[in-house]
Symmetry: C2
Subunit: 199 residues, 2 copies
């Protein structure tokens, strides 16, 4: 890095701290940016600062939003009796893209992972239970990832909620649509078998 | 993108304009940044703005630098009689990393490419010729890339400089050190054969 003058090295250093950006990509990005018009780079910098400044958790579902209440929680047409629990805002967006889910969400911001020292107190779980006490909810749909952490979290939440009498469900695991059986791992194949439905 | 609130969408949009960053990576980066401490994001934004503001071409060799004259041109220990011509600042850094080249550089900021409409007037070639007139240079080492554009540029520069009597050389093409012959393309193998030296 001593081959570049200080401000260039600093820029490369900052960029290479970003996830998935190695030293080569950071250099490529830095020189790309140094060659762009000044206004364009200033705009990127200000969008970055403003987003970090103004984006926070929705007071109700804890998704990331720049408003006090996110557009989904604020939408009166949504079915307020269903809450889908997801690990993060990107998972919420994935379900929103289907356009078929009409209920609300709850974003945990992580999953329980004893290996990484993340316990139930480190995710927005207490906040979910508080919501369920205050609001009239029929069903909690657990849509955490199909990983060890996601499954652990799903089991944990299900055990906490079941005694309250609220219905708890889990999205199905199985062969992805269009998936070729020979390329699918054994655990998924067994899950698909266990979860088979009568035709 | 309509699944995210406006400032988040803007951030994802800005990030996905960067080269090599697709829509998925832009989302991953955006949420990573939104979850980092505010000071860290502000620092990235200000390093970006400042670098773009203050980095410009070195008055002598046209590399990118935040000083008037870059550290290499300002270094009195460098051999001022040799100039290595490279396409961009990253290529200069690649040779500096070897620690073995003691001469100066000249950065073209591109290569002649009729396909992309880049002619001799679009790169810092006139500036190279002006340098050669003003300064006492023994040898110009052409280290443009070994691509079609790099070779075209090398030939063009060589034809311009030869009549002045200054020695013009081209870095060698051949099999990379540690390279396995069976994995090397035919053009490189032929170049390596043509450029063979007696042992």
């Amino acid at each position: 890095m001593e081959y570049y003058s200080k401000q260039i090295s600093n820029l490369i250093g900052e960029l290479s701290n970003l996830p998935g950006i190695g030293s080569k990509s950071a250099q490529r990005l830095a020189f790309y940016l140094l060659n762009r018009p000044k206004e364009e780079v200033d705009r990127l910098a200000s969008v970055l600062t403003e987003a970090r400044q103004n984006v926070h958790y929705c007071k109700e579902c804890y998704t990331l939003t720049d408003q006090e209440i996110c557009p989904i929680c604020a939408n009166e047409k949504r079915d307020r009796k269903k809450i889908m629990v997801v690990e993060d805002t990107r998972d919420l967006a994935a379900y929103e893209k289907t356009g078929k889910y009409e209920g609300l969400y709850h974003v945990l911001h992580g999953a329980i992972s004893p290996m990484q020292g993340i316990g139930p107190g480190d995710i927005k779980l207490k906040e979910l239970l508080q919501r369920l006490q205050k609001e009239d909810v029929d069903e909690v749909i657990i849509a955490t990832n199909s990983s060890l952490e996601g499954e652990t979290t799903a089991m944990y939440i299900s055990k906490l909620i079941k005694p309250t009498g609220i219905k708890v469900s889990r999205i199905a695991s199985g062969v992805p649509v269009g998936g070729d059986l020979e390329n699918i791992d054994e655990v998924t194949l067994l899950r698909a078998l266990e979860g088979r439905t009568e035709l």
